[in-house]
Symmetry: C2
Subunit: 461 residues, 2 copies
């Protein structure tokens, strides 16, 4: 069985190699704009196929996202072996846009699979986790690691180091929970809630730190304004989610012009929320997640059923009561999943792009510098400890699952580091170290989470 | 019923107006690259919602594509009223890419819904239709219209005018047949087949005409090479479709890692074919159409069933033989549609983009020049007559349906006109006229086709 599958994967692999070689050979004749578009289309096919092959890691109990990240790391670093072809992928603005759209759709999906009642139920615990998960790495980074690893630098540098370690990147963790079908766990809900709050806290910290470095003092007016905006968005979304979404669902269900309207309304809703989140100063993915919560699939059950269900409903009318009931329960089970089913193919198309391209941006050469690698390993350890500590306040759940779930750092950390560099408080060396820390936390989280989940399952059995 | 729906549409319309005004107000703060991406995401939402509203035309018996084109025309020409906001959409490279991807996926879908046996069965008729549909407009344009409407110009100009009138743009017609659920008609199959052959003939004509204008003589070597390449691609695809695709289907079905693999293989297959078509000198949409034919959904029936079908299969085991048979027939009916179901949401997302943006590129101001408009109307009439004539050789089918189905001219005509302009044989005036002809044939085809189809239905009843 597994052998047969390997054979198939091998064949697909050979096909991919052929396609890639074709592309490389034809890359010379690459000049017109139309040609660029067709090249991007081929690049999409190559990334999608390779991402799918990389899901082989699932056979070893690893989440598919790890495979996507690793294939990305390989493609993105083939230039070290003198093979520069894939470097074009990293700079293609269309691929970058589609990958950003991918993570927005992922968080929308995660929001759809989550439940706003469940999340508000763990709300206080998520808030505690977020606060500890921001404070612990900040204090460790600013007061302990900074002065020890980089003696003699200004306090502002230490503050920036601390700040870069605070923000959780929720994409990786959410994908791991989704891949392993564990999104329903309270741990997953706590991490998702905490990551949203983290984003608000990250905003505030960025405002504070920038204000200290630039003006030497904290500008409370600005910070108040930033926090107010972000909170207004979040509270507005929660109110929408709890009170208005049933009506939205019923309203939308009255317009039954088939699949098209449902899909368009759902995906436009996601895009508009992503846009609004950015306008309110938050990350677009926070908006997409909120949109998913608001459009909780339960409220879509009023929608017209897919054709197969209508056909079956017609057929079961003649059956006896008990059999009919059993069929109806199957149908109800599947009707409720409908909005997610509509989004899934778009997610299948765009989400792997995000993780492959995230992997491609991993610069392995930064790790060749032993000084950088050594310091990065220490800071990574501290960064993970800082978040694992936050799991301790998560209540009666698997504290390690929450803690390690909060561990990945991503683009937010890099944004901090970039600003620090612009303000001349983060040196080139420190920047490389921060990049390496982001890489390590990103790549380590999937295997760690899946091994924790496996142990937990073994215990329960 | 209809009143209630209008109220709903009105509400959605108000929401859209709000969103658009929001965007306009915030467009000032539009500076960072990240902001551009989020702007494109909002633009996507706006286009998708407006395209969906425009599908109101379906209530008046018109295909949805007409609504999409018209909303595009409105958005694209609001600048005439001093409202320049939507002009940004037209220049957004990401929106342009996604719209190109949209028409590729549309033709893939059309290919999936078509059947290679059916198309090869009408092959000879499609070939005749394509030849007459190229020759008639070419002769009418070069020898009749050219010398009469533009006396005193060089013969090369007349040749170019004739050539621009030859190429059918299959996107519009395919979408109309799809919207009105008429793709199974032999007329639809003939038009699709003829459009593919048209693309090859168009290539050859372009080579001939360019060679005459540039060198004053025909370069048979080049033309032979171009034709050979294009034919190699088409014949290769047909062979793949007839002989190899059952094995491809069975091979792919052995890898059952769920929806993801099916979707990825299908869409990558489409992208790779689109790429190869371009490499062989044909339009990417011809490749996508061929990919759809090769991946005929019949061959995907070996695939693992969706969850609902598995649940029902488990349930019906206990039922009596007759009831079981009835359920199995429902299940079989729905299993076969599976690949198309997977592609549909992606199509719902991307296809409307293509038609809205096509509409946006309609420049209404070209029609304000009465001289241009007058000549364009005459040429449009001739252009349509030239194609309607081709319907006469389509055999025992509705000849008008085939003829008008071949009528739309699109990007290929514009490519000809652009090359003619570069070679200095097409004046600015003639260029404007050709653009107007393309617009008119594009906008007139959907209502004409739907009225022919309606008449045909009335006759049958």
């Amino acid at each position: 069985m597994i052998r047969g599958n390997f054979k198939n994967y091998f064949l697909i692999f050979i096909i991919s190699i052929f396609l890639i070689s074709q592309t490389v050979l034809s890359a010379g004749s690459y000049n017109k704009e139309n040609n660029e578009n067709i090249f991007t289309i081929l690049a999409l096919a190559i990334i999608l196929i390779l991402a799918r092959i990389s899901s082989l890691v699932e056979r070893f109990g690893q989440p598919a996202v790890l495979g996507e990240l690793l294939i990305g790391v390989i493609l993105g670093n083939l230039s070290l072996l003198g093979f520069y072809f894939f470097d074009k992928f990293k700079q293609d603005p269309i691929l970058l846009f589609l990958s950003e759209l991918g993570v927005i759709i992922l968080l929308f999906q995660i929001g759809l699979e989550s439940n706003i009642q469940k999340i508000t139920k763990v709300g206080i615990r998520a808030f505690l986790v977020a606060c500890v998960g921001v404070l612990a790495p900040f204090i460790l980074g600013t007061y302990i690691i900074g002065p020890r690893l980089f003696p003699g630098l200004s306090f502002n540098t230490y503050i920036f180091l601390g700040a870069t370690l605070t923000a959780t990147s929720v994409g990786i963790t959410a994908r791991v929970f989704q891949d392993l079908k564990k999104l329903h766990l309270p741990e997953a809900q706590i991490v998702l809630g905490a990551a949203v709050i983290d984003d608000v806290l990250g905003l505030i910290i960025l405002a504070i730190v920038s204000s200290i470095v630039t003006f030497g003092t904290i500008n409370f007016g600005t910070i108040f304004y930033i926090s107010l905006k972000a909170l207004a968005f979040l509270i507005g979304s929660i109110i929408l989610g709890i009170f208005i979404s049933p009506y939205v669902g019923r309203f939308l269900s009255k317009i039954h012009t088939g699949l098209g309207m449902k899909f368009t309304m759902a995906i436009s809703f996601c895009f508009v929320f992503a846009y609004l989140a950015q306008k309110f100063g938050l990350a677009p993915i926070v908006g997409a997640f909120a949109a998913g919560l608001v459009l909780d699939p339960v409220h879509f059950k009023y929608f017209k059923d897919p054709e197969i269900i209508e056909d079956i409903k017609r057929e079961i009318k003649e059956l006896d009561h008990k059999t009919k009931e059993r069929f109806l329960s199957i149908i109800n089970h599947h009707s409720n999943q409908h909005i997610e089913d509509l989004i899934r193919p778009t997610a299948l198309f765009l989400v792997p792009l995000f993780f492959v391209i995230t992997g491609m941006n991993v610069k392995l050469e930064t790790m060749f510098n032993l000084n950088v690698l050594f310091k990065a390993l220490i800071i990574t350890t501290i960064a993970i400890i800082g978040k694992v500590v936050s799991g301790l306040v998560a209540g009666r759940v698997n504290k390690f699952l929450v803690g390690f779930g909060m561990a990945p750092r991503g683009e937010v950390g890099l944004i901090f580091a970039t600003i620090g560099k612009e303000l001349n408080v983060v040196s080139d060396e420190l920047f490389s170290i921060i990049v390496t820390v982001v890489i390590l936390t990103t790549l380590l989280t999937p295997p760690i989470l899946s091994s924790i989940l496996k142990k937990q399952e073994e215990k329960t059995i």
